[in-house]
Amino acid sequence: MSLELVHSSAAPPPTVAKVRGQPLAELPADLYIPPDALEVFLDTFEGPLDLLLYLIRKANVDILDIPMARLTRQYLDYVEAMRRRNLELAAEYLVMAAMLMEIKSRLLLPRPRQAPEEELDPRAELVRRLLEYERMKLAGQRLDALPQRDRDFTAVEVWIEQSIVKRLPQVHAHDLENAWRVLLGRARLSRHHKVTRDELSVREHMAAILRRLAGAGFRAFTDLFEPWRGVAVLVVNFLALLELAREGLIEVTQAQAYAPIYVRLAGGEETPAAPAPGPGRD
């Protein structure tokens, strides 16, 4: 068979083959095969075993008591017909032909007297193969009859919105604690890098102020405070501004006493539209 996949919507049963567009509903009853039909006819067989099974079933003979002479003759007639038509004959057909003739001739030989029960019927091996092949042929049909995914049913797969997102590492706060601990131990910087809650809250505000000043040029000092968040926050915010100024990160200017105070990022000209997450700058 040259085709591995057969696309067909109709259930295969009766039509065995098509000859010149005409469905061939039944395999030929006897040895007469319309010449054009021979090729398709043989194509319906999966090999010599399949052809033999067909001949046996067709003749309605017992597979366990095969009339070798008749079977061999029929088989050879087919093979001969194929050769006459110059069909490319698979080697297996010829091997089988030789085997059939050998069995036939062994059946004609006189049986040895002693131990007849241990003497195997020369047909035994052929019968074993025919039965095993038929068993698997039927099993294949039964497997094909089972409901098959994508042919007879579809696996449900609801879209998962996030499933395409690359899985990202999870970090927990204690991972940072551990990382910091390792750093401290490694560099002996504990004295300089003791971080307290208070300091942390100032640092958080420092970052927030820088973020607000980014790309904004001068901003009014008072804009940087959010009075509604309470006195504690105001104080921390103020400390953050002082720290930023001390570290030279911001510039605080006042034209004259009591005039409005303005704040901008240190470094004069506007920072290039700040939080552009570009690659490292070095």
Binding site: D62, D65, R129, L131, Q141, L143, Q148, D152, T154, V156
Partner: protein
């Protein structure tokens, strides 16, 4: 800790979102092992009942549990998707049967049974479908690859194990009887069994 109703919704969601069957062990991870296998099994049974009468059913397969459409609804789905699922040739089906029932087998074993050369395309078709794979090599000249069916094969055919494959029993009985020649009594009674097996197969294929 989730209440049973919520746990059932979580189970349902995970099963609907996965096209591959999920084993109880997978499903237990949904709840960080807080639910026992028995509880999950009970919830799955509830879920299966809750889906009765719908176009989708919860089935138990070799790989675990999966929602899949009922075969009765496939004709509707086929209307939307004009591309037909492939029908396999007899060569492919017979090869599949030999691997399924006689595994592990080499290509040579398959050829012995079928009596013809097995083209590489046949094996490739089944491998590409994920239904068979190489499970080892026979310790013989050329160290031929040994093929066996996969869990996907069972899952795709709705089977929980190889034991759920259509049985071959009746035919194999006749093989045992086939051995002793010259005893024409036995074979004669065996023939109807064969014929019955064949017609059964034809009936179920129709």
């Amino acid at each position: 800790m989730l209440n049973p109703a919520d746990a059932r919704i979580v189970l349902e969601t995970a099963l609907l979102a996965s096209q591959e069957p999920l084993a109880i062990a997978d499903l237990r991870r949904l709840f960080e092992q807080e639910l026992g296998a028995d509880t999950i099994r009970r919830l799955l049974d509830e879920l299966r009942e809750a889906w009765a009468g719908r176009g989708v059913e919860l089935v138990h397969l070799a790989g675990g549990w999966r929602f899949q459409t009922r075969p009765e609804f496939q004709p509707y789905l086929d209307r939307m998707n004009p591309e037909k699922a492939p029908r396999y040739s007899r060569a492919v089906l017979e090869t599949l049967a030999i691997v399924a029932y006689r595994q592990p087998v080499t290509r040579g074993d398959i050829e012995d049974v079928r009596g013809v050369t097995v083209s590489p395309g046949v094996i490739r078709t089944l491998e590409a479908r994920g239904w068979i794979d190489v499970v080892g090599h026979r310790d013989a000249p050329g160290r031929p690859a040994l093929y066996a069916t996969t869990r996907k094969f069972l899952d795709d055919l709705g089977l929980r194990s190889l034991q759920e494959l259509p049985p071959l029993e009746e035919i194999s009985k006749s093989l045992e009887l086939a051995a002793p020649p010259g005893s024409p009594a036995a074979p004669a009674t065996e023939h109807p069994v064969e014929a019955a097996a064949e017609s059964a197969a034809v009936a179920s294929a129709a």
